[in-house]
Every structure is written in structure tokens, then in C-alpha cells.
């Protein structure tokens, strides 16, 4: 009996010998140590077992001599026990460990965005050309429950609670310094400023270098309260209480001590090298009225100048939870679907806990309307928003704006190798190793993020124009602009959408 089961590598590095010039750039680029130069043969070798398929070497190879292919080594075919499932059993039998994975749920579970289709105007009303006519994507997040009050001259008084102004209905979702690199944060902060939107510190505190982006910064207060102090709250446009995250609803966080470098420790305000453990719940919130207590204490601490966001994972009774939050004094609810990404989560939690954002969003929006409290909060939807079409569909279902995380990381070079938890990200994103972090140039990275969001904005405008809608605010909750295909009556009912071809 073997002590550790040999698991054959999932990928193979294929090198075109005719093209390889043995420049050894691949060797230098791979922090996983896949590539090596064999002095005896004068040729490059590859250790497939170390390869995570991040494509760094493929992209960097000056002669395009490399490709990564799926290994054709197979177990006996079995539709029930596929190779991944079998390997997971081996890994746990080897180690006794809880399986740990990164990024979002990769399983082929239903994606309702792809079953929703968008309307366009024909004859009875006109489409609008967004290149030549105004097409407004500006919106405000926060409470809209202002009372009509007038001054002595009859002018309306501004009784609106503080809110956020966005030039595009997209924000960068929470990713902590520690889980991602300093340069990745720099890219997000700079892009947010240029785009007129916001990035989110995650729960790892805020590096002092980024205080200058405070107008575009959302700071997070999670159960570990890392880096939460007066200056941190002061340097924010909004404060987000993280109750949960789509990739791992109901569990806490755990940044291993090896990622607690000097700089990260300073930002989190905990000693270098110790694990940063976030408790599963906030231990001052065991009930909905306790949430109100935290919302209000943060408002007291910031003298009611900043909106408070409450972020929750999409779970079975999302609508009731949102109703409770809407009555807690919070200004914005962020709902994170179960396909959302993460730096590291137990595999079983990531793949099995929570519900899709589409269904949760539709139910939350409808419930808040049924209770007449939709104006108490704005809604941000996240948890796998992959394209501008997903954004348009989310807003038509009822979101005010969307959080993007994975898409932003892809713009920075991420290839979804799902190995963030190793801390060896070759693209300089999910790592704290200085030589790897240096690979992510904030000038280039922020430009790529701006490009991405600008392109999405143009596409959103095109789709809005097609519908004859020239303000994103007239798209919000406009479910008649959506139709379903390949969905059951029950799914349509939950989504509040009619079947394609149905008039209404």
C-alpha cells in the first residue's frame, strides 16, 4: 500500500523543439519551478507535476514554442466518479486535509444569465444611437427615501442621505491586500479613480499609499476587523460590512501566515507571520438587530457622512435577509452569488453552498418592492458577472450596479489557474513575493482595467440604445426587457421574467 497516491499531472507542457531557443525565459518566469535547463543535453525540460496551467510561460515565450495541453492519462471512464472526484478522495486520504480551492465554482452548474435574452426596439418605438446621442450610465447608490421639504423660498431641500456616484454601473469587488498584491491594489485604485467608480479594500486594511484614492475607495469591515481604525474609516467613500461572500457563505477567512509579509502586516495591523483569521460570524452580530448596531456604530464613528454597505452571500432565504438589512439603517446591500470568486475557500463550500446570483437578485428586488422598501437601499449584484450583457441583465432584474472581481483579475493577466492559495501567482496578482509582484505594472494594469470597463460601458450603451432606453435608471428593474429561454415555469416565476415569444 502506498503512503501517498501518485496522481498524474493534469496538464502537460508541450515544447516545440524547433522553435525553442533555450533562452530560459520560461524557467525564469515560472515560480512553480516547472521549467529547467538540462546542461547535459543543452535542452529545456519540464516537470509537468508542478504546472498549474497559468499560461505565464506560454504568453512570455518569445518564439511561441510552448503550449499546455490536458494530459491524456485517464482513469477508467466513469460518469459518476470522474477523475477530479477520484483525485480529491486520494488527496484527502493522503493528507487528512480539508480541500482548499481558489477562484469561483468551476462546475457546470446552470448559468441563468445565459438563459436570459435582451429586448430591442422595432417600429413601435425607436432605438437610440449611443455614439451620437446621450446615453447615461451615471447612477447613485444609497437611500432614496428623501422627504420633500422646502426652504422658506419654496426650494427643495437636500434631504438625501450620503451616497456614492458612479459613472458606470460597475464597481470592483472586495479583494484584500494580502490575498492580492500591492500592485494589484494600485491598479484597481487607479482604474476606479479614472473610471469614476470604486474599488474595495476587502478585509485586509488600507495601505497608506492608497489614502489618496479615498474618494474612490470602499473600505471593508469584516469579522476580523483587520486594519479597522479611525483613519481607515475616514479614508473611505463608503464602508462595507462583510457578512458573507458568495464563494464561501457561512464561513470565515484565513490568510496563512506566510502571506503576512511586513507590508501586509502593517496594513492589517497584526504581527508579521501570524495567521489572519476572520471568524465565521461577526461576534457582535448574532441577530438582525445586532446588524443595526454595527451599522449605526460605524455611522456614529464617521458622523453620518458615509453610506454603509452590507454584503451578504446569496443563500436560500436571501429575500428575507435583504428585507432585514433594508430596515437596519444600511444604505446599500451587496449580494454575492455562489459562483463568485475567492483567494481560497474550502472546495466543498465553494461548490455546494449558496445559490445563483440571478435567482437571489430577482427575489430580493421583488421582496423589497413588495414590502415597499426598495428605496431604503440600493442593490449591488456580484458573484460572477462575466460581461456587459450580464451587467445589463442584472440591472434589468433589479440591481443598481454590479461588482466585478474575477473579470478585473483577468484584465490584470489572471488565467484562472485557480492556484491563488499557493501564493505563487506568476502574474503578480495573488502573491506577496516581491519579484512576482513586480511583474504587474500598475501603469499597464490600470490601463487594462480602464479599457475593460470602458469597453463594457460602450456595450451597455449599445444594448440600452437598442432598447430605446437612454438612462441606466430606466433599465433598473425593467424586467419586460428580458425574456427567458430554456427555463422552467418555476425558474421564470422566480426570475419574474416571461418566456421568449411571450408578449406579456
Amino acid at each position: 500500500m502506498m503512503d501517498r497516491m501518485y496522481i498524474s499531472p493534469a496538464y502537460e507542457v508541450v515544447r516545440d523543439a524547433a522553435r525553442c531557443t533555450t533562452c530560459r525565459l520560461c524557467e525564469q518566469q515560472c515560480a512553480n519551478g516547472v521549467h529547467a535547463f538540462d546542461v547535459r543535453t543543452g535542452r529545456m525540460t519540464a516537470d509537468n507535476g508542478r504546472c498549474v496551467n497559468c499560461h505565464r510561460c506560454v504568453c512570455m515565450c518569445p518564439t511561441h514554442a510552448l503550449k499546455i495541453v490536458r494530459s491524456d492519462d485517464v482513469y477508467p471512464e466513469n460518469a459518476n466518479w470522474d477523475a477530479q472526484t477520484v483525485n480529491e478522495v486520494y488527496r484527502q486520504a493522503d493528507s487528512g486535509g480539508v480541500l482548499l480551492s481558489s477562484m469561483g465554482n468551476p462546475k457546470p452548474q446552470p448559468i441563468f444569465w445565459d438563459r436570459l435574452l435582451i429586448n430591442a426596439s422595432q417600429v413601435t418605438n425607436p432605438s437610440i444611437d449611443p455614439l451620437r446621442e446621450p446615453m447615461e450610465t451615471r447612477l447613485f447608490l444609497g437611500k432614496r427615501t428623501a422627504k420633500i421639504e422646502r426652504d422658506k423660498n419654496g426650494k427643495l431641500k437636500n434631504t438625501l442621505a450620503p451616497g456614492l456616484t458612479l459613472e458606470v454601473p460597475i464597481l470592483f469587488s472586495a479583494m484584500s491586500y494580502g490575498s492580492i498584491s500591492y500592485n494589484a491594489h494600485a491598479c484597481l485604485a487607479r482604474a476606479a479613480e479614472e473610471l469614476g467608480t470604486y474599488y474595495n479594500t476587502g478585509e485586509g486594511g488600507l495601505h497608506r499609499d492608497f489614502y489618496r484614492y479615498s474618494r474612490n475607495t470602499i473600505v471593508q469591515v469584516a469579522s476580523g476587523r483587520f486594519g479597522v481604525f479611525k483613519d481607515y474609516l475616514g479614508k473611505a467613500a463608503a464602508i462595507e460590512i462583510k457578512m458573507g461572500q458568495g464563494a464561501k457563505p457561512g464561513i470565515g477567512g484565513h490568510l496563512p501566515g506566510m502571506k503576512l509579509t511586513a507590508d501586509v502586516s502593517e496594513t492589517r495591523m497584526i504581527p508579521q507571520g501570524t495567521d489572519a483569521i476572520s471568524p465565521a460570524p461577526h461576534h457582535d452580530i448574532y441577530s438582525i438587530e445586532d446588524l443595526r448596531q454595527l451599522v449605526c456604530s460605524l455611522k456614529e464613528a464617521t458622523e453620518y457622512r458615509k453610506p454603509v454597505i452590507v454584503k451578504v452571500a446569496a443563500v436560500h432565504n436571501a429575500a428575507a435577509i435583504a428585507s432585514g438589512i433594508a430596515r437596519s439603517g444600511a444604505d446599500i446591500i451587496a449580494i454575492d452569488g455562489y459562483r463568485g470568486g475567492t483567494g481560497a475557500a474550502p472546495t466543498r463550500i465553494r461548490d455546494n453552498v449558496g445559490i445563483p446570483i440571478e435567482l437571489a437578485l430577482a427575489q430580493v428586488d421583488q421582496r423589497l418592492r413588495d414590502e415597499g422598501i426598495r428605496d431604503e437601499v440600493s442593490l449591488i449584484a456580484g458573484g460572477s458577472i462575466r460581461s456587459s450583457a450580464d451587467v445589463v441583465k442584472a440591472i434589468a432584474l433589479g440591481a443598481d450596479a454590479c461588482y466585478i472581481g474575477t473579470a478585473a483579475l483577468l484584465a490584470l493577466g489572471c488565467h484562472l489557474c485557480r492556484s491563488c492559495h499557493t501564493g505563487l501567482c506568476n502574474w503578480g496578482i495573488a502573491t506577496q513575493r516581491p519579484e512576482l509582484v513586480a511583474r504587474l505594472d500598475p501603469d499597464v494594469g490600470s490601463r487594462r482595467l480602464v479599457n475593460l470597463v470602458t469597453a463594457w460601458k460602450r456595450e451597455i450603451q449599445e444594448m440600452m440604445g437598442g432598447m430605446g432606453i437612454n438612462s441606466i435608471e430606466a433599465l433598473r428593474g425593467n424586467r419586460l426587457m428580458l425574456r427567458g429561454v430554456g427555463l422552467t415555469d418555476r425558474e421564470l416565476d422566480i426570475l419574474g421574467v416571461r418566456y421568449a415569444g411571450e408578449n406579456m
Binding site: Q92, V98, R225, P279, H283, S297, A301, T302
Partner: protein, 240 residues
Amino acid sequence: MRTIDAEGMDYAQLNAQVRSCEEEEICITRCIGQRYIGTGLSGRRIVVDGTPGNALGAYLDGATIRVNGNVQEATGDTMNAGVIAVAGSAGDATGYAMRGGRIFVEGNVGYRCGIHIKAYRENRPAIVIGGRAGSFLGEYQAGGTIIVLGLHTDGRPIVGNFCGTGMHGGEIFLRCEHVPPRLPAQVRAERIASLPAEAASLVQEWCAAFGRDARELLSSAYIRLTPDSNNPYRQMYIAN
């Protein structure tokens, strides 16, 4: 000194008055349930008569608060610096996630006192409890000092169950003879004949705050709890 009569005031009103008060010393009288008193404050000395509401001194940043009476839940939540002295008992989650400053409680504390307190550089949070503590004392403790003096007379154990669960930094001192039962595996317990200097000075401060005699407390034996690793969960996961 400015006196604010809290009778009939809601918390937002009361706290706005405290924030805008020019004077350094403030006395709040007839306090009954107003929350968030002293939130994020620095540079003030506040005395509270009555029963303040939850989250007293949340995010406290250097101010001093003395309460003549009991306090409720989440006192000193995410506190950064300053002193909270309670001439009475404190409720659950006292000192949650505090990073600096000191909380002195003359009587007992409820469940989950000192949960997730953490030290950082010169910031070393400390909680000194005169009576006994409820269960989950120092859960997830990542730094700082918790001292329980056991001056209670109800005959119950000095701490409840699951003391120090998830502890990965800092230290807990319990003035008792025996190691509490069912400590988590990663917590090391040792009997010490007297308190180390830093802890001793905390006890002296506690005594000064409540007019108690320090001699007996300093000459007692204590059980000291520390974690054996600051990476307690490293072995738990396998990359997939």
C-alpha cells in the same frame, strides 16, 4: 467639566453633544440605554452614570471612559486606544477585536470577552476582569493580555467553557489554582508563582481604578495560557 443630562435623549443627540463639546471632561448623568457613547473618540475623559447601551466606546481612539454602573454588550468594540473602566459588570463580546487600549471591569464579564483581540506594534490591548468570565474567553485571541482576577463570591469557576479556543497569540492570566478543563489542544497552560511585570502593572492599574488593594492579587499564583503556534490551522488544508 461639562455635565450632560441624558434623560430623554436618543443616542444620536447625546453623541453629537459629546462630539461637539469643547471641554475635555464630560459627565453624562442619568444614562439609560444610549448606544455608541464615545465612538471613535480621542482626547476626552467621560464619566457615565447609569446604564449605557451597547457598543460603548466602539473604535475608541484614546479617550477615557469611566462607567459607574454596569455596561451591556460589545463594549470597546474594535477599540484602538484609550481606557474604559467599568465600576460594575460587562455583557457579552466585551473588547471584541480590540487592537489597543485597556478595558477594566470591576465585576464579571459575559460570553466571548476579548474575542479576536490582537496586538500590533506598540498597541497591546489589555482586559482586566475583577470577577469571572463567561465561556469563549479569548476566542481567536491573536495578541494582547487578558487577566481574570476571580474576586467573585458566587463559587462558580473563574472562566466558563472553551477558554482560548482558536487562540493564536497573546496571553491569558487566570488567578486560580487549577487549569480550566477542556482547554483546546493548541493552548499551553502553566502555573506561575507571580505575574510578570507588564501584567502586574495592569493589575495595579485595575486596583487604582476601583480603589482595591493590589498586594494580595500580586502575590497570588496564576495560570498562564499561551498558544503553541501562531499558525494553528496550517495543517488542516490540502490544496486541490
